[in-house]
């Protein structure tokens, strides 16, 4: 039972068609939006019968959940990479913290589609208990590590509280930018840029206060 899969396929991370489905699904979403995603369309793009994808995904939502998972992992490694300078050395903690914020907003700006999928889409029910939670946790943990470097926390709960504030504040900015709210609220591009810079400086000051707290402790 369960004969060995093609090892060549395994090296690239899965069955060829399965991978192709995930890729074309992302393309399809890019073209017609999440709600416009259709399994049959994906199949059509691959010149394959409308039922072929079902051999690799139990349902449309399972496919979507997998797409989101990939995004989360990509996002997490993107965040983690931001800590290192180009030459591979590490930056001072506060700089690394700022870099993380930039990486977050930069990813959201460069990959709006993926960002929306991860954080502004109601995850399909299949996401629950399907491992998506741990993948999003991985991204959050990067933030926790950086904060820990800024100021060694006594308890992880205390650190997570700070992390959650930074996370939600940055997410708020990214989310407002994503939603075109700036446009709806008739901010000009330069005003929008100024508003983002302003908000970031507010967060920076909050983090600086956290860092000061550490020095006070010592």
């Amino acid at each position: 039972m369960e004969p060995n899969r093609d090892p060549k396929a395994k090296r690239t991370g899965g069955t060829p068609l399965r991978e192709a489905c995930l890729q074309k699904a992302l393309e399809a979403i890019r073209d017609k939006g999440v709600e416009g995603l259709s399994l049959r369309d994906v199949a059509r793009r691959l010149n394959v019968s409308h039922q072929a994808p079902y051999k690799h995904f139990a349902s449309k939502d399972h496919l979507l959940a997998e797409v989101i998972r990939r995004c989360l992992r990509d996002f997490a490694t993107h965040l983690r990479r931001s800590g290192d300078a180009d030459d591979g050395t590490h930056q001072p903690p506060l700089d690394a913290m700022r870099a993380l914020g930039s990486a977050y907003l930069g990813y959201a700006a460069a990959n709006p589609l993926e960002y929306r999928l991860m954080f502004m889409t109601t995850w399909p029910n299949e996401a629950r208990g399907f491992g998506l939670a741990s993948d999003s946790r991985a991204a959050f943990d990067v933030l926790g590590e950086r904060l820990q470097a800024v100021r060694p926390y006594d308890s992880s709960a205390e650190r997570d509280r700070d992390a959650m504030f930074v996370w939600s504040a940055i997410h708020g900015i990214a989310s407002v930018l994503q939603s075109e709210a700036m446009h709806y609220l008739s901010f000009s591009p330069s005003e929008a840029e100024a508003a983002v810079a302003h908000a970031r400086s507010m967060i920076d000051r909050a983090i600086a206060r956290v860092s000061d707290r550490q020095e006070d402790d010592q």
Copy 2:
């Protein structure tokens, strides 16, 4: 052309069936989610032919846009009401500001469905140029007024910058709560509550700094 509509219907805000559609649509979304919304289902709930709603909405997306607009208006008045104390008198500016934050989070907590519709759903294309922008602006303006009371700004641009920070920070919190991220990140309920309180106190301090800035100026 355009004969007078039934004045009785006008008093209640529109054609009966039109209003009923909007109400049942919200129910349907509550039952099966936004993506599960179906015009035919709405019609079925009203014991009416599957084409009847088309006499009042050009398309499913037009209906959805109208539902969202109602939510935005309801939300804006909810925010605005939060300024007044029970006896109708006005609170001091900083208290009114805090009350606004509570009202925002309170609405999101009490009406998660509506909140998601307004701020975590990709608005249908019909929303553009359909007036939705001005409705969301109305909600944002409440925040601007409160800030103005805390500290008279020289320029509206400067005030809007502060407003955008508070807005995005509060939205970040609400949005994180909505997305069940707390659960995914395995925060216990009490930890989550503490995290929210922590984040709000960070915002409060930022606003207090704004208020101090005013006193420095004088």
